[in-house]
């Protein structure tokens, strides 16, 4: 058992293992199942996420509300023109995340990671890096295990819900999970994983949850997009040797404090922030007639 990053790091160090190894072993032990069974469970989810991350890259599917459609395809087409400023990988990752998110808003099948609103970030980062380094299936499973372990630390000590802690708690946490996982995939150290996760969360501290018309759609898709780039940036920072001044457990505690102090208008109620702009209100009226 581990309750925070410090305890998890200690376990890893004592046993000379990576985050994913420890996380999977503990998961198996606590649920009285085998390590193979845990891995098989991840694999099932990975198949679903993989489909979702590719589904709308070449074909636009409208959202159930009719509000949005086709951004993944637009970005994918744009990347093919080779005029992009961000790296191909970063943008491809964003396209994956947008695709996954569009599957979500069109009532397709996704895996909450950690929530439905933030479902694109973790798989997009892991899949795009897996493509880059030709990672095998086991390495991808390990990466999702590390991401989940970091998510569980945030949940134990703060929250993963936008309604409770704002978008920083949802998309911010997803990015932190992804960052830690990708550092491990790239052969970084456990400390580097947590530096990357800390920096990711710090970068979006205070990010509010302000979905227009209360629908998990706008600005959520773009929060997934920045979530990918934020995670990949912080992985590069950490692998370059840059450290977070504040350790992960303290960053998580700060995120929670900030989340709790957000007014309720900025926590998924669809009232404040972008939802409260004239455009946001007009869309709300158009969809709900009030």
């Amino acid at each position: 058992m581990y309750n925070n990053a410090n305890e998890l790091k200690l376990l890893c160090r004592e046993q000379g293992k990576r985050i994913s190894d420890v996380a999977i072993e503990i998961e198996a032990m606590e649920n009285e199942i085998t390590v193979e069974e845990v891995r098989a469970k991840f694999e099932k989810f990975i198949d679903i996420m993989n489909v979702a991350c590719h589904k709308t890259l070449n074909k636009a599917i409208p959202s159930i509300s009719g509000l949005t459609s086709g951004d993944a395809k637009k970005l994918n087409d744009y990347i093919e023109k080779k005029q992009n400023l961000c790296s191909d990988h970063a943008l491809k990752g964003v396209a994956f995340a947008l695709s996954c998110f569009e599957v979500n808003t069109s009532m397709g099948r996704i895996v909450a990671a950690p929530t439905a609103g933030s479902c694109g970030i973790v798989p997009a980062c892991i899949f795009v890096v897996a493509d880059k380094i030709n990672a095998n299936k086991d390495a991808v499973i390990d990466a999702f295990a590390t991401a989940s372990a970091v998510g569980s630390i945030i949940e134990k000590n703060a929250t993963l819900s936008g309604a409770e802690g704002g978008c920083q708690a949802e998309c911010g946490s997803a990015s932190a999970m992804a960052a830690a996982a990708v550092v491990e995939m790239r052969g970084g150290t456990i400390d580097q994983s947590f530096h990357a996760a800390s920096m990711t969360l710090k970068n979006v501290m205070g990010q509010v949850c302000d979905p227009i018309a209360g629908l998990v759609e706008v600005p959520c898709a773009k929060r997934n997009a920045i979530g990918v780039v934020n995670a990949l940036l912080c992985v590069d920072l950490a692998l370059a040797g840059i450290k977070s001044f504040v350790p992960f457990d303290e960053v998580v505690a700060a995120m929670y404090e900030v989340g709790k102090s957000l007014p309720c208008e900025l926590r998924e109620t669809g009232l404040g922030g972008l939802a409260g702009t004239p455009t946001g209100i007009a869309i709300r009226k158009k969809i709900f007639g009030k």
Binding site: A23, A213, V216
Partner: protein, 221 residues
């Protein structure tokens, strides 16, 4: 205790929102269990955020998908309203104010093909998790994490101990037990959550106890 790795990654579900879609599917499945038998008609009174965003979030399709027995990740959910129509189910959605409840709450009134009516109030409390707050007007607390039995019976001495004895004999561990009654000496309702699976023969055994009126098995979802 946390929820483990798959409390963070997962569930696999139909989007767009775990509370408005996945939770709603599970509530729909609960409605199906409580109604005991094929549903002829259902009316959903939607409260709070459910009332406001049910169309844009597909909560209507999710509730009906559950009513049809679908899982939270069934890709047919998007077509559930049409499927229900094909099965001649009469479905209605009425935005309303139920009072002081969680913002994602619904009251469902169902009629099954035998003409039996029943109702429940349930909230989708986040991350796809739900809570059944009342069944047929009786306060309840069912999470859907455990198998549960909803037993209506005469309110008389010894009913609960007889039921509990049966559970013990069948080596079923009781997680929670709620008992309430309409009025003294009339009808009472006992809701029991257990570890593991409710064996198929259990409902039969319980219904043989003198004074039992009806029993619904609500499988974990």
């Amino acid at each position: 205790m946390g929820r483990g790795l798959f409390g963070i990654l997962g569930p696999s579900m139909i989007g767009p929102s775990s509370s408005h879609t996945a939770g709603a599917v599970r509530i729909g499945r609960m409605c199906r269990s409580v109604a005991r038998g094929d549903i002829a008609a259902a009316t959903f009174f939607l409260h709070g955020s459910f009332a406001q965003t049910y169309k844009g979030h597909g909560t209507d399709r999710a509730l009906v998908g559950g009513l049809l027995g679908m899982n939270t990740d069934d890709e047919r959910i998007i077509n559930s309203l049409e499927l229900a129509k094909k099965e001649n189910m009469k479905i209605q959605f009425l935005p309303t104010n139920l009072g002081n409840y969680h913002p994602n709450t619904v009251r469902a009134e169902m009629v099954n093909k035998n003409g039996d009516t029943c109702n429940l109030i349930a909230s989708s409390i986040g991350g796809g998790e739900i809570q059944i707050i009342s069944v047929n007007g009786f306060p309840a607390n069912i999470s859907g994490i455990y198998d549960a039995l909803i037993i209506r019976h005469m309110d008389k001495v010894g009913m609960i101990s007889k039921i509990a004895a049966l559970f013990e004999k069948n080596k079923l561990n009781i997680v929670s037990l709620y008992n309430n009654r309409e009025s003294k000496g009339k009808i009472a309702i006992t809701i029991i959550e257990i570890d593991g699976d409710v064996p198929e023969y259990l409902a039969d055994l319980v219904s043989k106890i003198d004074g039992i009126l009806s029993i619904s098995v609500v499988n974990k979802i």
